[in-house]
């Protein structure tokens, strides 16, 4: 490990070591690693099958056609899998670190604790699953006879990063509540139901539900906005700006709660 004084290089080096560690760990359970990929692929096909069956009985949902929604499902899976690869298991483990007192040890290490807690483990299967989402998105675009421009693809990828960060901020906020309740696992489990909304076309919703999941928990923006950009369905740049603004708000919110929780942290054993 080089102890470079440049903090960026130092953290990149650290992250590289964590990656290496994760690869070694995953390869220890090869068959399990492959089975989890099968599980994810199965559930992914299930969501696509659901949409395919629904579109046997209708041509449109709002202004969304069949292959547009299937692309949306691909985009949702893509964002979810990248999030899962980088952050999910780390967020879930936070309550465990608090409960067992392992957090004490991490607080003593000469690195940013949030960095360590958030990025310790990389779930490599997520990247492999993300490729199946790319394949589906390309296939849907072929079915739609639509070729997005390079700018659209670039914008889409940028918004995917924003989407992953929104998921991360929200999940991290939930995980940080485990400082107070210990039983945060139930709440984290509940976040899974939110993924179910993220992959639905926004045109299906209205009223309070739509406002809540747009402005309070931006689930109806996280996937819909990048997918609409890719499909050229955005009527104004307003949605993109809204998503960016809410992403920044979520990030600040999660950092504020994290600092507040750490200040009140008294360790599990004392």
């Amino acid at each position: 490990m080089n102890l470079s004084l440049n903090p960026l290089r130092r953290y990149l080096g650290l992250y590289g070591a964590l990656w290496k560690n994760s690869v070694v760990r995953e390869m220890g359970f090869k068959s399990n690693f492959l089975l989890w990929i099968v599980v994810e692929l199965l559930w992914f096909s299930l969501h696509v099958a659901f949409i395919a069956v629904i579109y046997m009985h209708t041509k449109q949902i709002g202004d969304w056609s069949k292959w547009q929604v299937i692309l949306l499902i691909g985009a949702a899976h893509f964002i979810q899998q990248i999030f899962q690869a980088l952050f999910l298991s780390n967020c879930i483990q936070i309550s465990e670190h608090v409960r067992t007192g392992k957090l004490d040890f991490m607080l003593l290490l000469p690195v940013n604790t949030r960095f360590l807690v958030s990025l310790r483990v990389v779930d490599l299967g997520g990247f492999i699953n993300a490729t199946s989402a790319i394949v589906l998105m390309i296939y849907s675009l072929k079915q739609l006879h639509y070729t997005p421009s390079l700018a659209q693809i670039g914008g889409f990828l940028g918004l995917v990063v924003v989407g992953v960060l929104v998921h991360y901020s929200l999940m991290f906020t939930l995980a940080a509540t485990s400082f107070f309740t210990v039983r945060a696992q139930g709440i984290i489990w509940g976040y899974w139901s939110l993924f179910n909304i993220a992959r639905m076309p926004d045109a299906a919703f209205r009223g309070f539900f739509k406002s809540f999941f747009t402005f309070a928990l931006p689930m109806l923006l996280v996937v819909n906005v990048p997918a609409k950009l890719l499909l050229n369905k955005l009527t104004s740049p307003g949605d993109i700006l809204l998503l960016l603004a809410l992403a920044v708000a979520c990030a600040f919110g999660s950092e504020a709660l994290w600092r507040f929780s750490l200040k009140r942290y008294t360790s599990a054993s004392s």
Binding site: V53, M56, R183, G186, M200, A204
Partner: protein, 268 residues
């Protein structure tokens, strides 16, 4: 028999610890439910030429999902399979071999107690939700339907439990059973009718599914309630469902006997 009443009592005490968790769980489950219902509403709203989709009116479709939620609360296996697998892996199963207690009956009592508490806790949010959608909630006209519905739910619970129990016993052979559980869970979700009523599928696919136990784990009791199964089809369905329960029971006993042999081979 009395000892199993004690087991039920212990099961109730144990699950009461998780009541807050259950409230969260049942409330969070309502979010995707509401999303699915909104999706169907949008589809029905865009369909001006005919008031039904595959024979379902909007009210019947919404009722279908609400009844799925209720049957799910009453019969779904949530923690039991993980606990059984942990019992096996941690060696706690040995004590059941020494005591005059039947592990399957013991587990079924705990499952029943857990479902009882979960349903009692989930009843409040689910009832409020149904009240909110009461305009779309249809009740069966014939009182006999309620009876057949109840009977079918009991068999659904038994079937759900026995299948999960057998899967959990795979822990005698496998280190990790969660992948297997999630794979079967996926089939239950789509072929059991959690995601959509199975009779909106093309008839060819629906007919093939009828030969698997999955529709009898959810779709069958719900379609009794919605009034899609009546007369001869109802009696035939109940007999097939009962047959699946018996098969699952024999299967569970068989897996247990094989597993115990394997287990003692390791321990002795």
């Amino acid at each position: 028999m009395k000892k199993y009443l004690h087991v039920i009592n212990i099961g109730i005490q144990n699950t009461l610890v998780y009541r807050v968790n259950f409230v969260f769980r049942s409330m969070f489950a309502l979010i995707p439910l509401f999303a699915t219902i909104s999706l169907w509403r949008a589809i029905f709203a865009g369909k001006t030429d005919a008031p039904t989709i595959a024979g379902y009116t909007l009210a019947q479709m919404i009722s279908y999902y609400l009844i799925v939620t209720i049957v799910d609360a009453l019969t779904a296996v949530t923690e039991d399979d993980w606990q059984i697998a942990a019992d096996i892996k941690d060696g706690r199963i040995s004590q059941f071999l020494l005591k005059p207690i039947d592990y399957l009956t013991y587990r079924f009592c705990l499952f029943g107690a857990g479902r009882f508490i979960y349903t009692a806790v989930a009843a409040i949010p689910v009832a409020l939700f149904i009240l909110y959608l009461r305009k779309y909630f249809v009740a069966p006209a014939d009182p006999a339907t309620w009876g057949w519905f109840a009977l079918s739910i009991v068999m659904t619970a038994a079937l759900q439990f026995l299948i999960s129990y057998s899967l959990a016993l795979l822990a005698f052979w496998l280190v990790e059973i969660s992948t297997v559980i999630f794979i079967v869970f996926a089939f239950e979700a789509i072929a059991g009718g959690h995601l959509f009523p199975l009779d909106i599928l093309p008839p060819a696919i629906a007919n093939v599914l009828a030969f698997t136990p999955f529709p009898y784990q959810m779709f069958f009791p719900v379609s009794i309630y919605v009034g899609k199964v009546t007369g001869d089809a109802l009696y035939r369905g109940l007999i097939i469902q009962a047959a699946w329960v018996v098969i699952a029971y024999l299967g569970a006993r068989w897996v247990w006997n094989r597993g115990i042999r394997k287990y003692s081979a390791v321990g002795g």
